[in-house]
Symmetry: C2
Subunit: 215 residues, 2 copies
């Protein structure tokens, strides 16, 4: 059985998104700084249908994570790209385009029921209205022996951590300060998760930290 | 000229102290978890007048930091060990004992003027009422070519970061969650400090992160 992991880029002051998310800044103001490290990597570009890019330890880590992932769980806002018009238009699914980079079944935690959407390249979006636990269960069934990535946002990650659904936390620690925004580890205490360091990989741009969650 | 560095143990959720600091829990409830990694190390024990202890990469890092430090800056609360009776008793300086582990001049940022205190082993406490910038200036003069450690608490560290006095941030990232307490990087934004990763050293217990602050 695969493991359930939360994977997020985090600023040194603990934010996974900046303040005031919008369609223009889906990760909040300054939030794009958290993901700059990944943009130029070969593994990232390949997933987004582009050739070329850097081959380095960061790219290997992205490739490793993508290769091991059999299903993805995300929140409604990550699906729709911020505070978009999606809730008024139940057929809108334009944010990730026709060929989204996931290439596995994606389970979207939402209050708004809708029919599944099948995209090119192996990505399907299925909408789960019974909460994060049900979404992880569906993802587990879809992933088989592969891993289940809880991709974000912070709210779904926190819900999964609090519910004891997460086996591993993967943080890409980025040396920037955002000052305000949304934290991943907010309102969680030692009782919610006991952590054990698994692996640390360091590059010029970012420090990758893996923690096992021991129950 | 030596560098000015802030060195603090930080929980994975960004806290340098737990909630409700008291004489019993000077680092707040749960705060002692942040320092467990250091307690058994040879370099730590030696500084505290004890023999034995573990020799490992963590101990080397502690030894390296201590050896390079020529003066220390700290806040009043760190000097007096939490919410103690110190402000009512201007002669009290019992918290760190007769033989404190600093063994260099220590400059305490406080609103309460008092005479310097000389302890055994090379530690002197000098009280600076003109703010953190003045304390760093005095520490710089005392340290000569050695480094100046801003030892804590979070408030003095933040003041120094905001005032542009800090050359390097050294975080010992501890895999625990405190849930609440005092954060080092609170209310600081990209404008206050631009960070460059210098070095990462990883051990079973803790991840040591060094960032240069570029102005």
């Amino acid at each position: 059985m695969g493991k359930v992991f939360v994977e997020l880029s985090v600023s040194l002051d603990g934010f996974v998104a900046g303040p005031n998310p919008s369609l223009e800044h889906p990760l909040g103001e300054g939030g794009e700084l958290l993901h700059e490290w990944a943009m130029g990597l070969e593994a990232f570009r390949e997933r987004h249908g582009m050739s070329g890019g850097e081959q380095n330890p960061d790219s290997e880590i992205v490739a490793e994570s993508l290769a091991g992932t059999g299903a993805v769980v995300m929140g409604r806002r990550m699906f729709s790209g911020g505070e978009g018009p999606w809730e008024d238009d139940p057929n809108a699914d334009a944010w990730w385009g026709d060929d989204p980079p996931f290439r596995v079944p994606v389970f979207v935690v939402t209050h708004h029921p809708r029919k599944p959407v099948e995209k090119q390249g192996g990505t399907t979006f299925t909408f789960v209205t019974e909460g994060v636990e049900a979404a992880v269960e569906r993802a587990r069934a879809a992933a088989g022996s592969a891993n289940i990535q809880i991709a974000g946002g912070a709210s779904v990650g926190q819900q999964a951590l609090r519910a004891g659904l997460v086996d591993e936390l993967q943080m890409h620690l980025v040396p920037v300060l955002l000052g305000e925004g949304t934290r991943l580890l907010e309102g969680l205490s030692a009782g919610d998760a006991h952590l054990e360091r698994v692996r640390v990989v360091d590059s010029r741009a970012v420090t990758h930290l893996w923690y096992r969650i021991v129950r």
